[in-house]
């Protein structure tokens, strides 16, 4: 058994990090020339898949094939309505994304606690 929580552990980490990024955007909603940033889910997923595909090296003379190191890279958002002071934060949209992220976090948390409940049932034999 590698990890009890499976993919949900990584998902929780991603959601927690994205929460910080979105909180930073919202905190700087009135800062002149601040550029809003976000994590790209597809890019993070690609990174993890690539990392899972890397070759195992069993000998010191084996060549290592590293996954491209783009994990967790922040990207700048393209604003719908840029403001005059150069700020690209759109507070209502950021808040919507924040809420969506929080729901996804809770979903992952629910799956994780389900896994733990399953394990507990197996350990106690359902008693």
């Amino acid at each position: 058994m590698d990890s009890i929580l499976g993919v949900h552990e990584a998902a929780l980490l991603y959601r927690a990090r994205r929460m910080e990024v979105l909180a930073a955007n919202l905190a700087n909603a009135d800062t002149p020339s601040f550029k809003a940033r976000d994590l790209d889910f597809a890019a993070v997923l690609d990174d993890r898949l690539a990392a899972a595909r890397t070759l195992t090296t069993t000998n010191a003379r084996h060549l290592r094939v590293d996954a491209p190191a783009t994990h967790g890279e922040l990207k700048y958002r393209i604003p719908h309505q840029p403001s005059l002071d150069g700020n690209t934060v759109e507070a209502d949209l950021e808040l919507a994304r924040y809420a969506e992220n929080a729901v996804s976090y809770q979903a992952s948390l629910l799956f994780a606690s389900g896994k733990i409940a399953t394990l507990r049932t197996a350990l106690t034999g359902g008693r």
Partner: protein
């Protein structure tokens, strides 16, 4: 989950409340007059900048860089009956723009609310994470 979210949103709360305080001060002193142009009250505004966290160069809260005084010249008015008028009977009135201040106030209060929302949600999620696996 780390406690970073609280720091980030907390910095925004303090910055926005300072902005709200400055607006209150500007509105309260809107009708001040003085005998010289230098003595009259000038509108004050906060200047925000993104704070750089020394531990992570990418995530930033907000910092108040300073408070600047408006450079708009005060309004000259002929009012010899005013006890603060100078020898020529002129008083200088503060040039605070009420419309600008009200707009500023609404923007600050909205930003404060959304950051409070962020803190509340983060707190709920953190508490649920703490009770993960408990029956």
């Amino acid at each position: 989950m780390s406690f970073n979210t609280f720091d980030i949103a907390g910095s925004a709360l303090s910055a926005q409340s300072l902005r709200l305080n400055l607006t209150a001060s500007n509105l309260a002193n809107m009708h001040n007059v003085a005998g010289t142009p230098d003595a009259v009250y000038r509108a004050r505004h906060a200047v925000f900048q993104a704070a750089n966290d020394p531990f992570s160069s990418v995530l930033a809260g907000v910092d108040v860089r300073g408070v600047i005084e408006s450079t708009t010249p005060p309004i000259e008015r002929y009012d010899p009956g005013n006890p603060q008028a100078n020898e020529e009977g002129i008083v200088y009135a503060s040039s605070v723009n009420a419309m600008e201040e009200m707009a500023n106030m609404i923007s600050a209060s909205r930003s404060y609310q959304s950051n409070l929302e962020v803190i509340n949600t983060a707190k709920q999620l953190l508490l649920r994470t703490l009770s993960l696996g408990q029956v």
